[in-house]
Amino acid sequence: AQAKRGGHFKAGLSGANTSDSWDGRTHSDLFMIASAQGAVFDSLTMVAADGTLVGELAESWEASPDAKVWTFNLRKGVTFHNGKSFGADDVIESLQMHVAEGAKSAAKPIVSAIAEMKKLGEHQVQFTLQSGNADFPYLMSDYHILIYPAGMIEEAIAKGIGTGLYQVESFDPGVRMVAKRYPNHYKGDSAGFFDSIEYIAINDNTARMNALLTGQVHAINRIDFKTEALLKANPAVRIQEVTGNQHYTFAMLTDVPPFNDVNVRRALKYAIKRQEMVDKILLGHGMVGNDHPIGPANQYFAADLPQLEFDPDKSRYYLKQAGLDSLDIDLSASNAAFEGAVDAALLYQASAKECGININVIQEPADGYWSNVWLKKPFCAVYWSGRATEDWMFSTAYEEGAPWNDSQWDSKDSARFQELLKLARAELDSEKRRAMYREMQDILRTDGGVIIPMFANYVQGVSNQIATPEIIGNLWQMDNARMAERWWFA
Amino acid sequence: MSRLLEMRDIWIEGRTDEEWIPIINGVDLTLDKGEVLGLIGESGAGKSTLGLAAMGYTRDGVRISKGSVVFDGIELTTAPARVKRDLLGRRIAYVAQSAAASFNPAHRLIDQHVEAPVVHKVMSREEAMRDGIELYRRLRLPNPEEIGFRYPHQVSGGQLQRAMTAMAMSCRPDLIIFDEPTTALDVTTQIEVLAAIRDIVEQFDTAAIYITHDLAVVAQMADRIKVLLKGDEVEEAPTREMLAHPKEDYTKSLWAVRSFQRPQKPPAPPDATPVIRVDHVTAAYGKVPVLFDVSFDIHAGRTVAVVGESGSGKSTAARVITGLLPPRQGQVFFKGEPLPADYRHRTKDQLRQVQMIYQMADTALNPRKTVGEIIGRPVEFYLGLKGTKKRERVRALLDAIELEPDEFIDRLPGELSGGQKQRIGIARALAAEPEFIICDEVTSALDQLVAEGILRLLARLQDELGLSYMFITHDLATVRAIADEVVVMKDGRVVESGPKDEMFTPPHHPYTDLLLSSVPEMDPDWLTNLLAERGVENIGDAAAGRM
């Protein structure tokens, strides 16, 4: 269908907080991502709904052969909402704020990998990286890295001044955000079809659902799986469901016995019923995992790897290989890890029992889970939202020495993996990279310290008054949080 | 004379626990214009119920089951509510027993006064106010212009009672029901109110039903007297005739209650140690001084009556003796030994020796304990008796207070009459086997007949056990009946004290004199004579002085 202009779009979104602000460095949940990157601000690049990378404020980019030096050509004639015109200074200053003294930015690792930023012209910047990274343009689409007007960043953060399709009208943290279409946007008629948008913070599941059903909003995120069947029966709304990179894991510390023994890890991998987990924890709204963190939304997802299955014999076999008859271990879980983590742990406990493994499920308090349990307890439940690129994912959670390497996965466990990681990063040839990433996925699958039983779908509800493109982004909820840009009134 | 009110064969019942119990059984009552009828009977006889029925009104839970009430040709029992409301306040008015409780504490006197005339459209508000002030003046209230603008709590009891009479008069009704208007007042105040009521009723030639349980009072007020007993009419006759020749036995017994009189014991030898000596005691509640340099002795086997108007400090003296209120200065001696000022520092034996009987038997007995437990506790506590021995002792005590042990030992206080409760209180005091008992107004909440029984019991116990009593009262008749010595108190000081006979023979201290002369007598002309003697202005002054 042809997109039409007009209308006031309202969405009820979860993940809002009273401490929200327009500071991209602090964004972590849907409400602000959809408001900032999804409407008011732009980044240099953007992942399109089909997963390809396109330019946003950058028109084009090229790399040196070793993928160390990247030159970005910026879009011309772009203005901020306050009238200031956009240029190279804005990019450099906006990136520097992530590595400024005392700044606490989630994108700090990305930006600190840049050794030098150079303004080549009013609309051209050059980045020299510490080491080659073929995915660098992808990293520039990170939702933390928003472009602010240079010299007035503070004011821009206070008022929400960006180059995005929509201009802030009012913003009440934790309550509501209203914005109207910015008239002369460079994306012109190709995006941003609503006259104005209103994002309403509704953290309560029931209230959100009610708002959609009573027509008080046009779209909501995170539909409770339980009610999905009923929602489908309602003619006024439809359900969008996409499989992304979001995955739930059980991570073991590979430097702590007994998990330092690869045979124990393998025994555990065969002792879990993955399909049952998807059915019961996700109610079928997801995909079984294969113990590597690369999902269908990733470019080099190795769909052809054999699927790990529940197999008591193999499990016992590996247990014997490890010199054990039976195994008693503690598994820490809390619903802070992911919704249903405790139930998942209990299911795991039941299936492992058939393999002679006794899992003692410890229900940890939700508060302080991330600081007291994760990375500290040898075996615990974890949630990952996934990353847009393989390298990004691996270097966050599997690279030797990475702070969030929650299995303490290092070259002692697999020197090959760590080596491949570096090679693939600097490799610009796509086919070679594919092969390398496939091998890495396989290593994790067979030897890795993380059990990844399932990938969870994003399930969201949309009123039939709203039309959407055929392909819905699967990197994030709500069409990669860009419904304001891509949807329109039917 | 024309008939104003005619009640024929009135039957009234009240509801208790889903059952209707008769209160008035077929009483007739007639009243002519300008006539005053006295209605007399003991408490619970149904006087108030009958008086209210004369207004066509019954309290919640009470109904007129049979009979007719015709007021000036209007049948009240079947009249529409609107018609009755129109009569009430305008043509029939009511003066309640306790003016303090019957004035609404939230409104000024004058506002309550003008309410009836304004609602009944008899007068405008301004007229009613002016008229109210005029009535206050006639009733000899002090500052008539200003007093109406006070709230009820800012006005003394006697004045309130007169203000209520004024309020009843506000629409110049044809009939006023006075329901024990002076019962709650001191004898000295009572005179003023009686005089004022009689005056105003005569001036406006209003018919009235005057309810009381005090014969001497009704003798002053009524043209005719009707005697009620448990809802039945006993007899009715013109006042003088009734006083001179009561026909029925019950009426005669009413006339005779003051018969009990105990001979005064000879004074104790001057060198005898008193059981209790109150020695120059000054006491205060917080900063408010109440007792000033009070001294008196109580000797073994004697009864010392402490009299005085309300608030004069009688009970406070008792609290000092028991140790509940440690005095500022002075001391209390028991048989020559000083008693610690605070009861908490007294030994068990010292506590045992001083016992107390309270005025309100209702609050003095724990309603959740049986008679046996109440009396048994001190027996066990002080004497250490347990089991059957304790039970024996309790039974003996019940015998001593003339209650049948088998019948009463397992009852709760709620199942006893007022007089019986008071007897249990006495038994509890006796159970400690004390030498000295304080009786704080033990008879003032009781009917005369019952009260007399209690007095006789106390006297008998004194003779048998050699007890000493401190007998607090404001009723001079009681003093006359039981006391050996009398202490008169006023405003926290002892005004006069001495043997009873001395006290009742002139010359008196002026205050004692006022007290003595204010006690009504059975003579219908007593009030007239007294007023003539004292002079009307005198009473007005006294009233003003009481503010």
């Binding site: 009610t227 059915d279 209990l346 | 309270y358 003095a364 304990k369 506590f381």
Partner: protein
């Protein structure tokens, strides 16, 4: 606007009807006192009541006769009416039975009992029965994981139901009906223990303060003031969050903490009442008599004061119980109350609440959450009815 206009017009119509009703009544009955003395407001009330009743009947008939799709709208109305009538009849039968069976005293009690109180007693007995025999009544265990997870309530396979689980199953396939039944055991039992503890604490300290007075009274009262100035639910929320760390550390179930926390917070209210009641009793002459006798504190409190405070305390116990019950439910609703795997009604309401949104076209599914919430409401209503009656009886007001 037409909404308000309709309302105004109907009120006017009722007013006219009321006038006609009174006038007609007077004429027809020859001015019987009932009609003769009737104020207009009362006449209005009667007509208004009659109209409301007629409306109820009309809607009920609609609910029963309309085709199912449209009747959906009146489904809950129908349920409410049927429930009301059903419970009324049950209560009436219960009272009638009580009047015939039992001892002299119990029969007398039932004779004086209003229907509401009979209803209350009946419900309380029923809950006690369900709580005690939960294991026997429930079709499945409260923690039993059955094959089918997330069965939609209502038992209609078309929208994801299953007749074997009339109220559906939860996330991991536990039968909701069974959990509802076990909920009686857990929720009611815990609330009862909590209330009892609150009474023990508040009552003892309250009477102590009343009897001793002085600085102890001041201290306790001020302390209670402070606790009461912090909103109960919020304070409980705060403390429960703290307890979530300590519970696993100390190895004590979180529920124990909850009982203690709520009991302490609630005991402040009990303290106030106990102190007030105590103060009223302490001024009685019989207490003075006991003090003058030299009795100790224990005797004063337990033998003299307590027996006289039973009536108000018992009534308060009922009210407190409801309060505690609701607090626990609210805490569970907010996610910090009774912890899984124990079944509890507050949590169930929260988990099932979303089904209410579908009431318009699938009313059966909305029944489940309302049933859990209704189970809470029903018991508190019942307790309140009984308390109300007891208070009325003890206050001796003849009405």
């Amino acid at each position: 606007m037409s909404f308000w206009a309709t309302i105004l017009l109907s009120l006017a119509a009722i007013a006219v009807a009321a006038w006609v009703f009174r006038w007609g009544g007077q004429k027809l009955t020859n001015n019987r006192p009932f009609f003769r003395d009737m104020p207009f407001g009362v006449a209005f009330g009667y007509v208004f009541g009659a109209v409301a009743l007629a409306g109820v009947v009309h809607l009920y008939v609609l609910a029963r006769t309309l085709p199912p799709a449209e009747a959906n709208k009146y489904f809950f109305f129908r349920l409410a009416v049927e429930g009301f009538i059903g419970f009324s009849i049950a209560a009436w039968l219960f009272r009638a039975a009580g009047r015939r069976i039992g001892t002299q005293a119990s029969r007398k009690l039932f004779r004086q009992m209003p229907l509401t109180a009979a209803f209350g007693i009946m419900i309380i007995l029923a809950y006690a029965f369900v709580a005690i025999f939960a294991g026997w009544l429930a079709p499945y265990g409260q923690e039993e994981v059955l094959g089918a997870a997330n069965v939609v309530p209502g038992g209609d396979p078309a929208i994801g139901g299953d007749p074997r689980f009339p109220l559906g199953t939860d996330q991991i396939g536990r039968d909701i009906l069974s959990r509802l039944i076990y909920g009686a055991q857990n929720t009611v039992g815990i609330a009862f223990v909590t209330t009892a503890l609150a009474f023990f604490l508040g009552g003892s300290f309250g009477f102590l303060a009343a009897t001793l007075g002085g600085w102890l009274d001041q201290l306790l009262s001020r302390f209670v003031d402070v606790l009461m100035a912090i909103p109960a639910l919020i304070f409980a929320l705060l403390l429960m969050t703290i307890a979530t760390v300590w519970a696993p550390k100390l190895g004590i179930p979180l529920t124990v903490f909850m009982v203690i926390i709520i009991a302490v917070i609630d005991s402040t209210r009990v303290f106030r009442l106990a102190r007030a009641v105590g103060l009223n009793i302490v001024v009685m002459d019989y207490i003075e008599a006991a003090k003058l006798r030299g009795e100790g504190l224990g005797y004063l409190i337990f033998r003299e004061i307590l027996p006289n405070a039973y009536a108000p305390l018992l009534a308060e116990f009922g009210l407190r119980f409801c309060f505690v019950f609701l607090t626990i439910a609210s805490l569970s609703f907010l996610g910090v109350g009774i912890q899984p795997p124990l079944a509890d009604w507050g949590t169930m309401v929260r988990d099932l609440a979303q089904f209410i949104n579908f009431a318009a076209f699938a009313p059966q599914v909305a029944v489940a959450p309302l049933l859990a919430a209704g189970a809470i409401a029903l018991l508190t209503v019942a307790v309140n009815f009984v308390v109300d009656w007891m208070l009325q009886k003890s206050s001796g007001l003849k009405e």
